[in-house]
């Protein structure tokens, strides 16, 4: 198993407030890793350190290292914009641009100077197919993305992320605003996508983590309490705090 992301002694501060304490973790390539834990435990903060999204928040500070393919993403040589292309992100609420389906997908490529129509058309087709949206929208790709249902919009946002050819995709509670059928489609999609990408998902649904992830990390008060194969975390966790959380005794 190949380590894609290596986290070493990571601390993160909002002002003087330490939100993440001494995190060490190996995230494996082409696996789905889930972060679970009660609200405010640091799981989303940690997710955002992986593509330096936290830098948009003032007065924050990072200590320690995050290596992706062996390269420290906080080194001065790393361009955060290029990093965010390699490490894509999908959010809780679908956030398509108020543009056509087509324009949503090619937006990033055009920004990066790709103008060739054939290439753009090809990307739109393949990404829509890879998120299993093609059949549903093929007759309206030049219509507004806002006409799509919530579940379709979320799959479009995943297509938009994939179009940039990332290595890693971060999902921050991607189904919490969706109905059960749309949720199931996204979960199936993630299981497909892990063949090509390394996936990290923050979820409040323990059943979702259990269903789709290969590895699970349990966070509490900014610390990783336990990180192991998902099967072990949910069938026989080592730490009593993990057991108490997943069995609903607190949290």
């Amino acid at each position: 198993m190949e380590t894609k992301i290596k986290v070493e002694n990571l601390n993160f501060y909002y002002g003087n407030n330490r939100a993440l304490s001494n995190i060490n973790m190996d995230i494996y390539k082409n696996k789905i890793t889930a972060f679970i834990g009660p609200s405010g435990c640091g799981k989303s903060t940690f997710l955002r350190t992986i593509n330096r999204m936290n830098e948009f928040i003032e007065n924050t500070r990072v200590e320690g290292k995050i290596l992706i393919d062996g390269e420290d993403i906080y080194s001065k040589k790393v361009d955060p914009v290029e990093l965010r292309r390699r490490v894509g992100m999908v959010f809780q609420r679908p956030n398509p641009f108020p543009k056509t389906i087509y324009e949503n997908i090619v937006y990033g490529l055009k920004k990066n100077g790709v103008k060739n129509k054939e290439i753009l058309n090809e990307v739109v087709d393949t990404t829509l197919k890879s998120v299993a949206l093609y059949e549903e929208v093929k007759d309206k790709i030049h219509k507004s993305a806002l006409e799509l249902s919530g579940g379709q919009q979320q799959r479009l946002c995943i297509a938009r992320t994939i179009a940039m050819q990332p290595d890693v995709i971060l999902f921050d509670e991607p189904t919490s605003a969706l109905d059960p059928i749309s949720t199931m489609k996204i979960e199936e999609l993630l299981l497909e996508l892990k063949n090509d990408y390394t996936i990290i998902i923050v979820t409040h649904s323990m059943q979702q983590a259990a269903r789709i992830s290969d590895y699970t990390a349990f966070f509490l008060n900014g610390e990783v309490i336990e990180f192991d194969e998902t099967n072990k975390i949910f069938s026989n966790p080592r730490d009593k705090r993990t057991e108490d959380y997943i069995t609903g005794r607190f949290g």
Binding site: M206, Q207, S235, P237, E243, I246, T247, G248, F250
Partner: protein
């Protein structure tokens, strides 16, 4: 947090204790009926066994509902899967008690070829094993579970004695063959009941630790 769910798990444990009490009782009743050659009492064992079967189905349904509706995890999940296994062992014990009752009915009033000593002893120990194993289940007590499993050795020794005695009687008097074979089976049924109790003890260890441990 999830008090309703935890209450339902406690209810299942309680139901298993009730089912276990019934099983203890019919082991005792079936061997007493044999000792007293009481055919009527033996017939009642069949009715009690039907009640045990009904309890098994009720407990199984409760476990399946909890699995479907509450998605239990970690130890909660192991408690429920253990409960599902225990009721199968208890139900089988009930069937063995029925087998003993059937033997009593077959022997009828025919005089015993020897006084029954070791068979009632086996029944006493197995009955105690059933009781203690379910105590261990409810208290989640691994040490008690291991102690109960050790009692199986006493039952095995008594079973060997029963066989040896009966074989020597047959050697002396071949006309005793028919009844001797029946009594050997009674010994065998009791020995199987003790084995089922050992199964329960192994499951209790798994339930508490999440690890499999073979005992005896």
């Amino acid at each position: 947090m999830r008090e309703h769910f935890f209450q339902k798990i406690d209810d299942i444990k309680h139901d298993i204790l009730r089912m276990g009490n019934m099983v203890e009782r019919i082991i005792n009743d079936s061997v007493n009926a044999l000792k007293n050659q009481d055919v009527e009492a033996s017939k009642r064992i069949y009715i009690d066994d039907d009640k045990i079967d009904t309890m098994e189905h009720e407990i199984e349904n409760k476990c399946v509902s909890l699995l479907a509706l509450q998605q239990p995890l970690a130890k909660d999940l192991r408690v429920i899967t253990t409960a599902l296994r225990i009721i199968i062992d208890l139900e089988r014990m009930g069937d063995h008690a029925v087998n003993i009752a059937k033997t009593t009915i077959e022997i009828g009033n025919e005089p015993f070829i020897k006084p029954l000593v070791d068979i009632p002893k086996m029944a006493d120990i197995t009955q105690e094993m059933v009781k203690l194993s379910l105590d261990a289940f409810v208290k989640e007590d691994i040490n008690l579970a291991k102690k109960v499993a050790e009692m199986d050795e006493e039952v095995d020794k008594l079973y060997e004695l029963v066989i040896k005695d009966l074989l020597s009687i047959i050697a002396k008097d071949s006309s005793s063959m028919n009844q001797a074979a029946k009594l050997m089976f009674v010994g065998r049924f009791l020995e199987r009941i003790a084995d089922h109790t050992t199964n329960i003890c192994e499951r209790i260890i798994y339930m508490v630790t999440g690890e499999y441990e073979e005992i005896n």
